[in-house]
Symmetry: C2
Subunit: 151 residues, 2 copies
């Protein structure tokens, strides 16, 4: 099994070499061992998984900072577990919120597709309208107060 050099790791993870170096500088992936004789980075397979995870998490709206938090969530027997638990629960809530919104957009798309069955649409219907219909006006905290504390 050939050793994972930076370009192979990048290729396997589906990113560019510079991205790997960038993540390393950011502390998102661990500094790989650089054998003294060569000075070249050699990656464990796990790094590839990690980079893939990072990309997928980005896809669904997490920033690199948040992804770092996610990745650092680790139930370490030596650490105070309740902290990890708390942070995990917070992230879970975040994820659930995202899922809800995604679900709403999904229904709106479904509805849109249904309304447009092939040729000659029957209903005028946009995503926005579907969403408003689906969520019942959405007017939470509309009509926010006027003129108290205006900047």
């Amino acid at each position: 099994m050939t050793e994972l050099t930076i370009s192979k790791a990048a290729k396997n993870a589906g990113v560019g070499v510079e991205t790997i170096r960038f993540y390393e500088r950011k502390g998102l992936i661990e500094q790989p061992p650089k054998p003294l004789d060569t000075g070249f980075r050699v990656y464990p397979e796990e790094t590839v998984q990690r980079v893939r995870f990072i990309r997928q998490a980005q896809e669904i709206g997490f920033s690199l900072r948040e992804i770092e938090e996610l990745l650092s969530l680790r139930a370490d027997p030596s650490a105070d577990c309740s902290d990890v638990r708390e942070r995990a629960a917070a992230k879970l809530e975040e994820v659930d919120r995202k899922m809800e919104q995604l679900g709403r957009i999904r229904s709106a798309l479904d509805e849109l597709i249904a309304a447009c069955p092939g040729r000659g649409a029957l209903r005028v219907c946009s995503i926005m309208e579907s969403l408003v219909a689906a969520t019942g006006e959405t007017s939470t905290y509309a009509n926010a107060g006027r003129r108290e504390n205006p900047r």
Copy 2:
């Protein structure tokens, strides 16, 4: 009902005034009527909904460009419906992919929380490890070929 000036619209939508102007320049929200006597923008309530939608869609990983696409999806009886349908279907697939990944992260968080029941963790377990476990190695297209077409 007082008219929605830019700052009120911004407040109701939970964004800054500059963000509204920015979205307007980008074409994400329609140019509001600016009565000749004043020159000030006056917004319909719909704009507030729209801005909220934009923010929520951003939260789950859509770029402004993609959100524009989403918002322009509209089953218009006068237009060729199949194009809209196609684009909607593509977006739907995208949404489904996001939901899957979100679901995986969710289970990983669940598992993490379960493994860490209050005090003194029983298992060492990170998000990454949970995900790898949950997705069965994830090694799709790992072992990508070596040395053919290197860059």
